[in-house]
Every structure is written in C-alpha cells, then in structure tokens.
C-alpha cells in the first residue's frame, strides 16, 4: 500500500500522503464558536474553547493541483483525518469494510465514506485506520511547508487511484 522510504518524495506533497500531528479543523461545532467584536460591532476574531484535536491526516487534493511546479496558483490543500479502526463501535463490520475497500466493476456494496489504510510502523494504529471523507477540510496554501514537514507516508500510485475513485464515489451520491 505504501511506497518505501527511499521511493517516497519528501520534498513535495502528493494526493494520499499521510501526515502526522495535524490539527483537525473539520467537524467543527459551528455553534461552539465565540466571536470577538470591535467597538463598531464588526466581528474581528473567533475562537473555540475545545481542546484542539490533533491526529494523522491524509492529503485529498489532486497531486497536480498542489504540485509546487504548478503554474496556476495553488489556493488550498484539502485534508481528512485518519481514525483508528479499533475505535469503531461495530467491530464486526470492520472485515466487511476492509474487504470492500477497493471499488471495481464487481462491487455491490462498500463503506464509501471511509478508505482503509493498513497499519505501518510510522503510525500508532495497530490494526490500521480509515480516512473519513466526510470530515475533510482545507487549509491555505501557505501551510504547505508546515504540512510537508509532517509527511510520514506516501501511497503507491495504484492505491492513490483507488482512494480517489472512492472519494469520487462518496461525493457522487445523490
């Protein structure tokens, strides 16, 4: 599933890259935001009193869109959190999720919201994790170097293809 350390590109971000220690900004409770105003009543700041949720995350943006060689301005980087498969409330469903992870012509059912990634020594998930597409979020392009420094794993090209196809299937729902 993963490229070896020697094969991985640690000077660029690619779709499917796994990052460590990312502040997960998705799934924010919008009602829990406190806004600060100036004397004119204009909202000038905001903060959330909850503890920051820091976890592994996967890059969902297209590799070409976030490539530094891209002549068009890279505007943002889309990320989604990884979630420990062992924290699932229905462990009996996990095998089914893993078996239906890759979609092809014969697929009749799948867990489209989640893409399973195998355990690796660089991550703390002993039995693997899932990327949760429903909790994706974006950060500005000037976060690129910060995220690059957090890159720990790169998916093989054929796995990236499977992941991005599943992502498209997830959003294709009516």
């Amino acid at each position: 599933m993963y490229l070896s350390k020697e094969e991985s590109e640690f000077k660029v971000l690619r779709q499917g890259d796994i990052l460590k220690d990312v502040h997960i900004l998705g799934a924010i409770n919008i009602n829990g935001i406190t806004y600060g105003s100036n004397l004119s009543g204009e909202q000038v700041s905001w903060y959330i009193t909850n503890k920051p949720f820091v976890a592994n995350a996967m890059v969902l943006s297209h590799s070409c869109e976030i490539d530094p060689q891209n002549t068009i301005k890279m505007t943002s980087i889309i990320l989604a959190p990884l979630r420990d498969i062992n924290s699932a409330t229905s462990p009996e469903k996990i095998n089914e999720l893993i078996q239906s992870n890759f979609i092809d012509d014969t697929t009749e059912f799948s867990y489209l919201k989640y893409f399973y990634v195998y355990p690796h020594g660089y991550m703390s998930f002993s039995d693997g994790a899932v990327v949760d597409f429903s909790k994706c979020f974006s950060v500005r392009n000037n976060s690129y170097e910060t995220l690059l420094n957090k890159k720990i794993l790169q998916l093989k090209p054929e796995v990236i293809d499977k992941m991005s196809l599943k992502l498209a299937f997830y959003f294709r729902r009516s």
Binding site: T71, K73, D84, T89, S110, K113, Y114, D132, N142
Partner: protein, 120 residues
C-alpha cells in the same frame, strides 16, 4: 517550591567596584528650572534618533504588510486566470465506472461509527 524575589543591597562606599552616579535629588535640583520635555526634543541628537526610529518603525510595518506576512496577502477566494487553466486528466475506466455504477453500489457507511470524539 517557595520562590520569592530578593533584593540585594549594595553600597558604593563599601564596594569600590560600584561607581556612584548623580544622586536623584541632585539631578532634580539641576533640572528644576528647565522644561525637561523641551530639553529632550530640542536635542539634535535625540531628534535624529527619534526620526530614524520612527522611519524604521514605518518601514518595518510597510514590509510586514506587503511582503512579510503572506496571510495578509493570500486570499484563497481571489480570481484565477482562466487562460492558464489546463484540463484535468480523467481515467476513462474510472469515469465510466463512476457514471454507471455509482448509484448501484450500496453505501453501508452509516453502519459504523467511531468512538474517538469526532462523532456526536
């Protein structure tokens, strides 16, 4: 651990390394008949220093505004240049599968939740 600030007393009389400057009362008496503020701003050296300080402050702020902080310059919602756009490559097989099969696949995502604080 109990920590408190401690003041150590020195005396210029007892320690020859300490050089005694003017007593406060002496300075006050010396300047008693002068407008201290006028004395300061009328000093050419001080005026030069103040001018350079303010120019530095203004230049520093200008640099911060126009080149230092990308956050202020970067706007993720600004325009894109259509002439530079290139079409994304699409896999024909994936496209066909996405169009024809997507609604035929049963989605069982709702059958699993994760107890890590991200789900309500």
């Amino acid at each position: 651990m109990n920590v408190a600030l401690r003041q150590q007393e020195f005396s210029s009389d007892s320690d020859p390394k300490i050089i005694k400057l003017y007593d406060y009362n002496y300075v006050g008496e010396m300047l008693r008949n002068y407008d201290i503020i006028n004395l300061i701003i009328g000093n050419q050296s001080f005026e030069k220093y103040l001018k350079e300080f303010m120019e530095g402050l203004i230049f520093s702020n200008w640099l911060d505004k126009y080149s230092g902080y990308l956050d202020k310059q970067d706007n993720p919602f600004d325009s894109i240049y259509l002439a530079d756009l290139k079409p994304d490559k699409l896999s024909k097989a994936n496209k066909k599968m996405l169009i024809t099969n997507s609604l035929k696949i049963e989605d069982r995502s709702s059958q699993i939740l994760f107890n890590d604080g991200l789900d309500d």
